[in-house]
Symmetry: C2
């Protein structure tokens, strides 16, 4: 199993396979052909076969893929289902939305603390978690071996927050501030740019209106 050879493009398609296979599993479907996947996922069938071959062939000619086995292998590669200790820094709308979206917890991403600098928010309960002061961040992160820090602070504080989390030993930064934060080698970061998909949407709208 040589995960390192998997290209970035394939990695970025894996979450989609994971979501699709999860739906099949929920629907009680045990086997799936690449041609049906191709039709339902709107991806080229040979692309699907190439993608899935990257991490071992789970398909048999004329027999299809085993849904649960393939899903579990994709989860293993993505690291879904391992246990992560997660904190959220910045409890604005995005921070609160992520906290409420409990699906993450089922997948192993446990939000164990949330922090904000606003005295109006500190001490308040959100769900069953109490908003802590930023003054507690360093102590908490070190003591609780936090794996992932979610950054949802204003743009101007994002890099500083990332630097602090990394210096405290956090290995992954999931950043929602609208700026790319940078981290040192050995640490991972995903900068989420919500507006990118809005631009893609308007591209497709323009494209369709011109070709009608």
């Amino acid at each position: 199993m040589q995960d390192n050879r998997i290209s970035d493009a394939v990695i970025h398609r894996l979450p989609r396979y994971y979501r699709y296979l999860s739906e099949l599993e929920t629907a009680g479907i045990e086997r799936i052909s690449s041609s049906r996947m191709s039709h339902e996922m709107n991806l080229n069938a040979s692309q699907i076969r190439r993608d899935l071959n990257c991490f071992g062939g789970f398909g048999q000619q004329g027999y299809g893929y085993q849904v649960t086995r393939l899903k579990q292998e994709i989860m293993r590669i993505l690291g879904i289902g391992s246990t992560y200790r997660v904190v959220i820094v910045g409890v604005g709308n995005i921070g609160q939305a992520l906290l409420k979206y409990r699906h993450f917890t089922d997948e192993g991403y446990h939000i164990i603390a949330v922090f904000d600098s606003d005295p109006q928010l500190i001490g308040r309960d959100l769900g069953n978690i109490t908003i802590r002061s930023m003054n507690e961040l360093a102590g908490f992160v070190k003591e609780n071996k936090v794996d992932i820090g979610i950054i949802s602070v204003p743009k101007a504080y994002a890099q500083k927050t990332a630097d602090e989390l990394v210096s405290l030993g956090v290995k992954g930064i999931w950043n929602f501030a609208p700026v790319d934060v940078e981290v040192r080698r050995g640490v991972s970061v995903e900068n989420v740019h919500l507006s990118d998909s809005l631009y893609i949407l308007s591209y497709h709208m323009r494209d369709k209106s011109e070709n009608n």
Copy 2:
């Protein structure tokens, strides 16, 4: 200019070029070489040259790209800077976060109304916009020629909301409910899956910890 030949992979990189070129422009930089872009964007230089050649060569050998001209061309292709009339359906945390993120407005995406079914929310002001009842949706969308509908309702209502918006003439759906909504031919949809980038993050974390 043959936009139709641009591959999906290139389209998905364009927002990133757009963000990068905007930063250069703000910094007063007029020309940029593909090798410097390569270094700063962490993309292969020949990849960059191929991407940018897809929509006309703006670079000259040894001279680099004209930042503003290239940015404007990418904006034109993505449809940024045109005027879009946008409504938000569902004013939970994500809906509120998008409403507050005023950057969209500067780029032509004008949020002209927001809707919710919660009687506690209807009539309340958010920023300088009043939350309307879902009962007003049909009348409003038809009267105001809405281009884009943002869906941030619970998962169970997402497809129904998309169907209604499309039947009222909306041509683009930007969906934040954690389910893929489907639309008829001629309409565009972007389904945003926030957790996908969390999975990619945990992939990279696992990958780095295994290779250390």
